[in-house]
């Protein structure tokens, strides 16, 4: 039980029977009370809602459970009230008072067949019209075989008015990007409404988690969103380590920070490059991709994988950084920082580039809060959220992170500049971590673990897009029965549509790129 428990008790209703799993406080709430408690947490105590997910425990306990994961920033604690659905398949919806709950609840409806009562939007999410509406893939009695093909209908939101017309874009695009469908309602060139339809890369990852061995589960978590392989596997491993009661060595914790920051560095360089490329600023585009390639090659040299796959494991890490390598790496990063600063100086001096980025795709702070926007997009509006600071993990507990990089305006330029700041911060962090890296032998991951029985664990990692949350639950035998990953993209996708409204169509690719969300991480 954490030391700061006194601070926490103020949040929890007196009558609740709290069960502590490491830093996660779990307590049952009557379905009729959940709206009151959730609203109290969210609106009164300003606790961020991290995830809502469900588990199918009909075989063991004859019920479904719905888990509401709230974080307590700075205390590094998660409050997880849950409701038990016995003999019913409906649960009270929070969507009318907590907007960001809407998509979580739609997902539960689509995948578990539990109806959120009072939800304003009952269309399925992620699964498409070819999926029968009465087959629920995350129920335990679904065998994983593809069901018969259905022919449902999906109704896009409609805009009426003179001169309004719709443009369907995607899911196949002219460039090599992930598939997603965008439905624009436009008047001339101005976007009136933008609805994103995703789910084209749904792979059944959550179902697959239920069937794989632990080592394969780690590998699967690396594929949830391929560009965040390390952060996703780190979040999953940390959750399992909580359940197994494993405390990883100091050495591993530092290595995890170094690899996680290398991943951030590579992707931010790539994003910065592609934002510039999408405006047609070819100089910045080619130089930024060059820097990204430099980092990817460092990754390959250190670990054998450009995307840092196969590095993380439960209880340890497979690839060490030797003292001989760490000096060279520090020097390389200093060179990279110098190049990066020069490129950014040229970019900031280009009035044509600034003209394209300024005021493009402004996300208002009210909408961002309602959608629960996290990560770079949130920090670009001045929301100070960073899991490395709010819920310190690995060696972020001891390293000096500095201020959370924020901007105010919430336009494409703000998102661009947040990334620029984070590149500098990442380089400083890696150099710092390399210096402090304890001299000891690397701890290899464990092969076999015994997990706590009937327990849940919540783990959070600040990926380069935003915070990645994993919810892992075990059954009475200590076997993992449910893994629910939540990529930041799942939340931020709902904001992209709002950021597009009022802009003109040719600017949308740039707006989309300034968010650069994962389709795979959203579709799972």
């Amino acid at each position: 039980m954490p030391a700061s428990i006194k601070n926490i008790t103020q949040y929890i209703p007196q009558s609740a029977k709290v069960e502590w799993h490491d830093t996660t406080a779990v307590f049952e709430v009557a379905p009729s009370d959940i709206q009151k408690i959730a609203n109290d947490f969210y609106h009164e105590k300003h606790l961020p809602l991290k995830m809502i997910t469900a588990t199918d425990e009909r075989k063991e306990h004859g019920c479904f459970k719905i888990w509401y994961v709230f974080g307590v920033p700075k205390e590094n604690i998660f409050l997880v009230p849950f409701i038990v659905l016995k003999n019913t398949e409906t649960f009270p919806s929070l969507a009318t008072t907590i907007h960001e709950a809407a998509n979580h609840e739609r997902k539960i409806q689509t995948f578990f067949g539990l109806t959120p009562k009072g939800h304003p939007d009952t269309r399925p999410i992620i699964l498409h019209e070819n999926w029968p509406i009465d087959v629920f893939p995350l129920r335990k009695d679904f065998d994983g075989n593809p069901p018969r093909e259905a022919h449902g209908q999906y109704n896009f939101q409609k805009v009426d008015g003179e001169g309004i017309y719709e443009i369907p874009v995607g899911p196949i695009h002219a460039g090599i990007i992930e598939p997603g469908h965008f439905r624009f309602s436009v008047a001339g060139e101005e976007i009136m409404l933008l609805e994103a339809r995703l789910g084209f890369v749904h792979k059944g990852s959550e179902k697959l988690f239920e069937r794989l061995s632990l080592t394969d589960q780690v590998r699967l978590s690396e594929k949830i969103s391929g560009d965040s392989s390390f952060s996703h596997s780190l979040a999953f491993c940390q959750a399992v380590e909580q359940l197994a009661g494993i405390h990883v060595s100091e050495h591993t914790r530092f290595l995890r920070v170094i690899y996680a920051e290398l991943e951030r560095l590579a992707n931010h360089c790539g994003d910065i490059a592609f934002i510039m490329l999408d405006t047609g600023f070819n100089f910045g585009g080619s130089q930024g991709t060059r820097l990204r390639e430099m980092v990817m090659r460092v990754n390959e040299r250190l670990t054998g994988s450009r995307f840092l796959r196969g590095v993380n494991g439960v209880g340890g890490i497979t690839k060490d950084i030797h003292a001989t390598e760490s000096d060279g790496l520090s020097r390389e990063l200093i060179v990279l920082r110098k190049d990066f600063s020069e490129i950014i100086a040229i970019a900031e001096n280009s009035s044509s580039l600034r003209n394209r980025l300024e005021d493009t795709g402004i996300l208002s702070s009210d909408i961002a809060k309602d959608c629960g926007v996290v990560g770079v997009a949130g920090r670009a509006i001045g929301m100070v959220n960073d899991a490395r600071v709010d819920y310190p993990y690995a060696a972020y507990t001891t390293l000096h992170i500095g201020d959370v990089a924020t901007e105010k305006k919430g336009d494409a330029q703000a998102r661009f500049r947040v990334r620029v700041k984070e590149v500098h911060a990442s380089i400083a962090l890696i150099v710092d971590a390399l210096r402090q890296l304890p001299e000891e032998r690397v701890t290899q991951p464990v092969k076999e673990v015994t997990l706590k029985k009937n327990a849940v664990a919540v783990s959070i990692v600040e990926g380069w897009r935003g915070d990645i949350v994993y919810f892992v639950a075990t059954d009475a035998h200590g076997a993992i029965t449910r893994v629910a990953p939540r990529d930041p993209s799942f939340l931020n996708w709902s904001a992209v549509g709002h950021a597009g409204v009022g802009n003109m169509v040719p600017d949308f690719p740039l707006i989309n790129k300034s968010f650069n969300l994962s389709y795979s991480g959203n579709d799972l």
Binding site: N282, S350, L353, D507
Partner: protein, 308 residues
């Protein structure tokens, strides 16, 4: 000798235009620290496309099928009617600035129709944007060439080039303004920066490419070739009307050799300038484009007012 010259005059534009595209791409690649494809790559691409099968939408009408031939044929006719390496191959039918401007407009017209024909969302987008840019560019196009016509007292393009070649120095100022206006039109009409990004893969931002999205195989090859021709035609107009020096005025072998090499040199300079522009600035927002085109018109109008 003259029949050979006529053959050169007729095939010069289609023969050299893919090279122009290749050279611009090569220079851009070098600016980006890349090796870049060979300057001959556009020829290989055309060859490849001519050997591919086509997919034509069920909804396509005859316009979609015929447009590539019309658009390509127009660039052939115009390409043969403008001064390239010599000054004495003009005719009185097609070598007139008004004829040239509006023959090219027919090409744009059919291109835009073809873009809308299959009913795809992007084609309509491309056509609408192309017509917006094209309509706004027309003012600068006509007025910049009109400056030359007024200065030389003729609308025949070969006579204009001949007059400008031995022109008095006091006319440099209006010519300078007219050239600035014309250069903006050149960038707009040939879908280059800051109007359009010929290298983009983002279908929502495209202008010219959006109209071609439905084309494949041989017809796509014709369309690509035609737009390369158009670029070379504009470069030829810009270099031989505003800077006609070096062009062959007599039927001697040495004059012709000089004419060809000077013309290739001028093309190279224009390729370099276009590549520099495309490497150093970002594309403009779509709604800023009218401003630039108005500037082109104003520059040309100033040029006319400066003629004594």
């Amino acid at each position: 000798m003259t029949p050979i010259l006529w053959i050169i005059q007729s095939i010069f534009v289609p023969a050299v235009s893919p090279l122009v595209i290749g050279v611009i791409k090569k220079i851009k690649a070098r600016f980006q620290n890349r090796q870049g494809a060979s300057v001959l790559q556009p020829y290989r691409d055309l060859w490849k496309l001519f050997h591919k099968d086509e997919v034509v939408s069920r909804d396509a009408s005859w316009i979609f099928r015929v447009a590539p031939f019309i658009v390509f044929a127009i660039t052939l006719v115009v390409g043969a009617s403008i001064p390239l390496v010599t000054l004495f191959l003009g005719n009185t039918y097609t070598s007139d600035i008004v004829v040239i401007i509006y023959t090219m407009a027919i090409g744009t017209f059919f291109l835009a129709l073809a873009g809308m024909d299959v009913g795809g969302a992007f084609g309509g987008f491309g056509s609408s944007r192309e017509m917006t840019v094209s309509a706004l560019a027309e003012g600068g196009f006509i007025f910049s060439l009109l400056t030359l016509a007024l200065v030389s007292g003729t609308t025949n393009i070969f006579s204009i080039a001949a007059t400008i070649a031995d022109l008095h120095i006091t006319l440099l100022l209006p010519l300078g303004f007219a050239f600035a206006g014309f250069f903006i039109v050149l960038l707009a009409e040939t879908a280059r920066f800051p109007f359009d990004n010929p290298a983009t893969h983002l279908e929502l931002t495209m202008i010219h490419e959006a109209m071609l999205l439905e084309y494949s195989g041989k017809r796509l090859a014709l369309m690509e070739w035609a737009s390369a021709n158009k670029l070379l035609i504009f470069i030829a107009l810009a270099s031989n009307l505003f800077f006609p020096w070096g062009i062959a005025q007599t039927l001697s072998l040495s004059a012709l050799a000089l004419g060809i090499s000077v013309f290739l040199g001028k093309i190279l300079i224009f390729c370099f300038v276009i590549a520099v522009i495309e490497s150093s600035i970002a594309k403009l927002r779509f709604f800023r484009l009218p401003d630039v085109l108005i500037v082109s018109f104003v520059l040309s109008a100033i040029a006319i007012s400066l003629i004594q």
